[in-house]
C-alpha cells in the first residue's frame, strides 16, 4: 500500500512539474528549437561523456568492494549501468535495489553489504554534487539556489554522512547498538541484527584506508565534473555559450532535484529544474526547456539501452539454470539411466569445420621451414593449432577472431593481396613482426597460435 502511495505521489509530482515547465510556453517554439539543435558533434560527444562517467562510477564501485571481491572494471561498470537503467524504466528508485542485488550476485557479497555500498555511493554522490553546487553558486554570484536546493539537500546528505562517518570510525558501536535493540525482541532477532550490522558496517570498509578513501573521494569529484561536461556539451548543441559554471549549476540542481519522488526516468523534476537552472542564468524559458530535453536524452538513451541490453544478456545466461531446475523437478523415475533419472536429452553438437587455408598459411609461417615443407607434419601441426584454438573460451575465441581479421585486413591493405597469397618469406617476416615485435597487443594476439604451433612442430620434428 505504501508503495502504491509513493508511486502515485511520484507520478503526481512528475505531472505537476511537467505542467510547471511547459506552462505559459509556446510549445511550437520549443519543438522548433529542438529540431534546429546542432546534433553533431555535440549530442554524440555528450553521450560519450556520460558513458565515460559511468565507467568512472564503475571504477569507484570496484574500489569500494576491492577488499571483499575482485570485480573487473567492466563488471563494476555494468552493475552501475543496470542500476541507472532500472531507475530509468521502473518507478520508486528500484534501480538502487537492482544495483545492490546485482552487486551482491556478481561479487558474492551479502545483500545487506551490497545495499550498504550502494547507499554509500549515493551519499558520496549527494555530497559531491552539493559541493559543486556551492562552487557554481559562488562562481555565478547568485544565491537563488542556496535556499531552494542546497539547504534541504545539505540536511539530508549531512545526516546520511554522519551515519556513514559513524560506521567508518566506530563500527563496533553500531554493532553494539544493533545488538541492544535486537535483544529486546529475542535472541534470534538479536543475532540477525548483529549480522546485518556487521555486514552493513563492512560496506564502508574501504573508507577506513586513507589511500582508498582519497581515491574514492577523488573519483566521486571526477565523476560529477565529467557529468557537468555532458551538460556543457549540450549547451553547444543549442548555440548557448560554453560556460562551465552554467553547466555545473545545471548539473548540480538537476541531480539534486531527482531526489524527489517522480516517474521512471525522473521525467518532470529533471526537466523543470534543469530548465530553471539555465533560466536563472539568463536563458529564455523555451530554450531552457529544449536544453533540458536535450540533456535528458543524452542522459537517458545510452544508459537505458546499455542497461536493458545487459539485463537481457544476464537473463539469457541465467535462463538455462531455471529451465533445468524446472525439468529436474519433473524428472520421472521411469526414465532412469544407470545412476539416476534422465531429465533432458539434447541433440548431438554439430561437428566443427577443419582448419582454413589462412590458418595453414599462418602456422606455416611460424614453424621451422623443414616442418612446414613436410606436408604430413605441417598438416598435423595445423590441425593441432586449430583444435586448440577451438578449445579456447568463447570470449577469447571471439577476440582472436576479431584480431586476426584485423591482421588480415591490414595485410591486404599493405600488400594488396591476402596473407595466404604472399610468398612464404614475406609471410614469415610479416608474422614475425607481429608475433615477436615490440607491440604488446600484437604479441598477445599471436601468442596462442605461435605457442601451440611451436609445440606441435617441434614435437613432430623430434618424433
Amino acid at each position: 500500500m505504501r508503495r502504491v502511495v509513493l508511486l502515485l505521489v511520484g507520478l503526481a509530482i512528475s505531472g505537476a512539474l511537467v505542467v510547471l515547465a511547459v506552462q505559459s510556453l509556446d510549445l511550437d517554439v520549443v519543438r522548433r528549437t529542438l529540431s534546429e539543435a546542432d546534433v553533431w558533434p555535440w549530442v554524440p560527444a555528450a553521450m560519450a561523456t556520460y558513458v565515460l562517467g559511468q565507467v568512472l562510477r564503475g571504477w569507484r564501485c570496484q574500489v569500494l568492494v576491492k577488499r571483499d571481491a575482485p570485480l573487473t572494471l567492466a563488471t563494476a561498470t555494468n552493475i552501475v549501468v543496470v542500476g541507472y537503467a532500472v531507475n530509468n524504466i521502473a518507478p520508486l528508485r528500484l534501480g538502487e535495489f537492482a544495483r545492490a542485488a546485482m552487486l551482491s550476485e556478481r561479487a558474492g557479497l551479502p545483500f545487506a553489504q551490497s545495499l550498504g555500498v550502494t547507499f554509500l555511493e549515493r551519499v558520496l554522490d549527494g555530497l559531491t554534487v552539493l559541493g559543486l553546487l556551492v562552487v557554481a553558486i559562488f562562481a555565478l554570484g547568485d544565491s537563488t539556489w542556496l535556499e531552494l536546493v542546497a539547504a534541504p539537500a545539505a540536511g539530508i546528505f549531512g545526516a546520511a554522512a554522519a551515519g556513514v562517518g559513524l560506521a567508518v570510525v566506530a563500527p563496533a558501536a553500531l554493532v553494539g547498538i544493533a545488538s541492544r535493540l535486537g535483544s529486546v525482541l529475542g535472541r534470534k532477532v538479536q543475532e540477525v541484527a548483529i549480522r546485518l550490522a556487521v555486514q552493513t558496517t563492512a560496506s564502508v570498509r574501504a573508507l577506513r584506508r586513507p589511500d582508498q578513501a582519497a581515491l574514492i573521494v577523488a573519483l566521486s569529484a571526477v565523476v560529477w565534473l565529467v557529468e557537468a561536461a555532458m551538460f556543457l556539451l549540450i549547451l553547444g548543441a543549442f548555440d548557448l555559450p560554453l560556460r562551465y559554471d552554467w553547466a555545473l549549476l545545471a548539473m548540480a540542481v538537476t541531480n539534486l532535484s531527482v531526489l524527489l519522488p517522480s516517474s521512471p526516468g525522473h521525467i518532470g523534476p529533471f526537466h523543470y529544474f534543469c530548465q530553471q537552472a539555465v533560466v536563472s542564468v539568463g536563458v529564455a524559458a523555451d530554450l531552457g526547456l529544449a536544453y533540458a530535453v536535450g540533456v535528458h536524452l543524452a542522459f537517458y538513451v545510452p544508459v537505458t539501452l546499455w542497461g536493458v541490453g545487459l539485463i537481457l544478456w544476464y537473463a539469457q545466461a541465467g535462463s538455462w539454470r531455471l529451465s533445468m531446475l524446472r525439468r529436474a523437478e519433473g524428472a520421472s523415475a521411469e526414465a532412469a539411466s544407470g545412476i539416476g533419472r534422465v531429465v533432458a536429452v539434447s541433440a548431438a553438437p554439430s561437428v566443427p569445420g577443419g582448419p582454413t587455408r589462412f590458418l595453414g598459411a599462418l602456422v606455416g609461417a611460424l614453424i621451422p621451414v623443414d616442418v612446414a615443407a613436410d606436408a604430413a607434419k605441417a598438416t598435423v601441426t595445423t590441425r593441432f593449432v586449430h583444435d586448440r584454438l577451438a578449445d579456447l573460451p568463447a570470449r577469447l575465441r571471439l577476440l582472436l577472431l576479431v584480431g586476426l581479421t584485423g591482421f588480415r585486413m591490414l595485410v591486404v591493405l599493405r600488400f594488396l593481396r591476402p596473407f595466404e597469397s604472399l610468398p612464404a618469406a614475406r609471410r614469415r617476416s610479416v608474422v614475425a613482426a607481429w608475433a615477436y615485435g615490440p607491440v604488446p597487443p600484437a604479441r598477445a594476439l599471436f601468442k596462442a597460435v605461435r605457442s601451440t604451433a611451436l609445440l606441435a612442430a617441434w614435437e613432430q620434428r623430434a618424433a
Binding site: A69, L325, G340, S346, Y436
Partner: protein, 484 residues
C-alpha cells in the same frame, strides 16, 4: 536409488574422499568429467595427450594484467594423473598464517602430521631411487656454488622410470592416485563413473538434493541425468568447484580469492650434454628463499623447449639445434595477488578465471629470475634465456644481479602456472571464507568442498600434499559427524 555420498571430481581431493567414505561403508558415487584411460594410451606426444587429458585441451588461460598459461587435468585421477608428482608438506609458516588470518581451526602442523603420514604411505611418496638426471646434477652444482640450501623433492611416483612424459600420463603407471587410491576405493565399493560432468546442484532450503550431470551418449547426443544423495562433496579443482557452485546459485564469497603460484621459465645452455629430454625433470628445489620464492626444474621436451624460448624466438631459434645441451628451470613465487573465478556469461561450458599479478609478485619473480640465472651460470651454463620478451640472454652473474633490484616489465613476461587454489577458502572468518574450517559450505548442511579451492591461500610449495592431507582430515571429521 539415492547414494549416501556423491563426489564430483576424482583428483587429489576427490579420490581420497571417495576412499575414506567407501571404507567407512557408505554408498559412494564419483562423477568424473574426464575419461578413464588405459596405461597403453599414456605417454603419447603432446599433440595427442593435450586433447585427451587436459581440460579444454590445455587452453584455459588465467586472464589479468599478465595473462597466464594454466592447465588442469581432466581424466580419472584429475591433475594428479598429469603432474610431475612432487610432494611437499604444507610449511608450518603457511599453517600459522591460515590460523591467524582465516581462523582455520585444528589444522596446525601436528594435527596434520597423521594425515601426511597416511597419504605418504598410501601414495608411496619417496625420493627417486634412480641416479640423478644430468639436469638435476648441474642444478645441485649451482646451488652448492651459491651456498644455498636445496633439496631433492619427494615424489608421488614410486614406479617412475624416467620416461619424461609426466604431462601425458605415465605409461608405467607410476602415479599414486590411480595406482593405489582409486583402485582401493573401487574395491571398497565406490562407483566411479567417467565422462559425467556435473552441471548443476539442485538445492532446496539450505540442502542439496541432487545433482544434474551431463553425459555424452554414443550417438553424440547429450543426456542430463538427475542423481540424488544425502551428502555432496565437490572436488572439481580450483576453477571448476567455484564455477559449479556459482552456476548452482551458491555465490556467497565463492570464487573471490583465486590464488596461484605464478611461474617464469628459463632455458639454460650448458657446454656439456644434459639430454634433458631423455630423463625426468630436475628433481631438486632450492629452498633458500622459500616459501616466497622457489627454484626448480621444469618439464623439458623439444616442444616445451621451443615454447619456453618463444618470447624471443627469432634470436633463440638456432639454439634448438643444440637441444642436448639445454635444460629448463623455473622460478615460482607464492602469489600474493588475488583473482576470481566465474562461470562465463558467454558459454555455459566456459569458466572465466582472473588473477592479478601484484607488485610483490613482480618483485619476487624478478629476484627469483636473478637468482636462478646466477645459480645456473655458477653451475657452468654459458647463457640463460628467460621467458621475457626483449631480454637478451644472461651470460654473467653480474647481468643476472641487475634483476635483484630492478623489476621486470609486466608486458614482457610470459607466465604460466599449474598451481591454482583458494577460490573457496575455508576458515572461521565468515567475511572471507565460504567454507567452515572443515570444508562445509556455509548455509548448506550437506554440501562440502574438498579440493585445492579450500586452501585458505597459497601454501608456497607444490600443493597436492596439502590438498590430500586436508581432504583426509575433513572427510574423517565428516564421517565422525554422521556417525554421531
Amino acid at each position: 536409488m539415492k547414494y549416501d555420498v556423491i563426489i564430483v571430481g576424482s583428483g587429489a581431493g576427490g579420490a581420497v574422499t571417495a576412499l575414506e567414505c567407501a571404507q567407512a561403508g557408505l554408498s559412494v558415487l564419483v562423477l568424473e568429467e574426464g575419461r578413464r584411460h588405459a596405461l597403453r594410451d599414456y605417454g603419447k606426444p603432446a599433440t595427442e595427450a593435450m586433447g585427451a587429458l587436459f581440460r579444454r585441451g590445455g587452453m584455459t588461460p588465467i586472464m589479468g594484467r599478465v595473462p597466464m598459461g594454466f592447465v588442469e587435468g581432466m581424466c580419472l585421477g584429475g591433475s594428479t594423473e598429469v603432474n610431475s608428482g612432487f610432494w611437499c608438506r604444507t610449511p608450518r609458516e603457511s599453517l600459522l598464517r591460515w590460523a591467524a588470518q582465516y581462523q582455520l581451526a585444528d589444522a596446525g602442523h601436528d594435527a596434520l602430521a597423521e594425515h601426511f603420514d597416511w597419504a605418504e604411505d598410501w601414495l608411496e611418496v619417496a625420493r627417486s631411487s634412480r641416479p640423478w638426471p644430468r639436469s638435476t646434477e648441474v642444478f645441485a652444482r649451482g646451488a652448492e656454488a651459491m651456498g644455498w640450501s636445496a633439496k631433492e623433492v619427494e615424489r608421488m611416483a614410486r614406479a617412475c622410470e624416467g620416461a619424461n612424459v609426466c604431462p601425458s600420463g605415465c605409461p608405467n603407471g607410476a602415479k599414486g592416485m590411480t595406482r593405489r587410491v582409486i583402485p582401493a576405493a573401487e574395491a571398497a565399493g565406490a562407483h566411479f563413473v567417467t565422462g559425467h560432468r556435473a552441471e548443476l546442484l539442485l538445492t532446496r532450503k539450505g540442502r542439496v538434493e541432487g545433482v544434474l550431470a551431463a553425459v555424452r551418449r554414443e550417438d553424440g547426443a547429450e543426456e542430463l541425468v538427475r542423481i540424488d544423495a544425502e551428502h555432496f562433496y565437490l572436488c572439481c579443482g580450483a576453477t571448476q568447484t567455484p564455477a559449479l557452485l556459482r552456476r548452482s546459485g551458491i555465490k556467497r564469497r565463492v570464487g573471490n580469492s583465486l590464488r596461484v603460484h605464478p611461474m617464469l621459465k628459463v632455458v639454460a645452455r650448458f657446454p656439456e650434454r644434459l639430454d634433458a629430454d631423455k630423463d625426468v625433470l630436475a628433481l631438486l628445489q632450492v629452498r633458500e628463499f622459500w616459501p616466497e620464492i622457489s627454484l626448480g626444474g621444469a618439464f623439458f621436451t623439444p616442444g616445451h623447449a621451443a615454447m619456453a624460448l618463444s618470447e624471443n624466438w627469432p634470436q633463440n631459434e638456432p639454439l634448438m639445434e643444440e637441444l642436448g645441451h639445454l635444460g629448463a628451470w623455473y622460478v615460482a613465487v607464492r602469489g600474493t595477488g588475488r583473482g576470481s573465478v566465474r562461470p562465463s556469461l558467454w558459454s555455459r561450458r566456459d569458466t572465466s578465471s582472473r588473477y592479478d599479478v601484484n607488485d610483490e609478485d613482480m618483485r619476487h619473480l624478478s629476484r627469483g629470475m636473478a637468482r636462478l640465472s646466477a645459480l645456473l651460470l655458477a653451475a657452468g651454463a654459458t647463457a640463460v634465456y628467460p621467458g621475457v620478451w626483449g631480454l637478451d640472454p644472461i651470460t654473467t652473474e653480474v647481468q643476472a644481479a641487475r634483476w635483484l633490484d630492478e623489476v621486470l616489465p609486466r608486458s614482457a613476461l610470459a607466465l604460466t602456472t599449474v598451481h591454482a587454489f583458494s577460490s573457496c577458502p575455508m576458515g572461521e572468518r565468515e567475511d572471507k571464507c565460504p567454507l567452515d574450517s572443515w570444508g562445509r559450505v556455509r548455509d548448506y548442511a550437506n554440501l562440502r568442498v574438498n579440493d585445492a579451492s579450500m586452501l585458505p591461500d597459497s601454501p608456497g610449495v607444490n600443493p597436492q600434499g596439502s590438498v590430500v592431507a586436508l581432504a583426509r582430515r575433513n572427510v574423517l571429521r565428516f564421517l565422525e559427524d554422521i556417525a554421531a
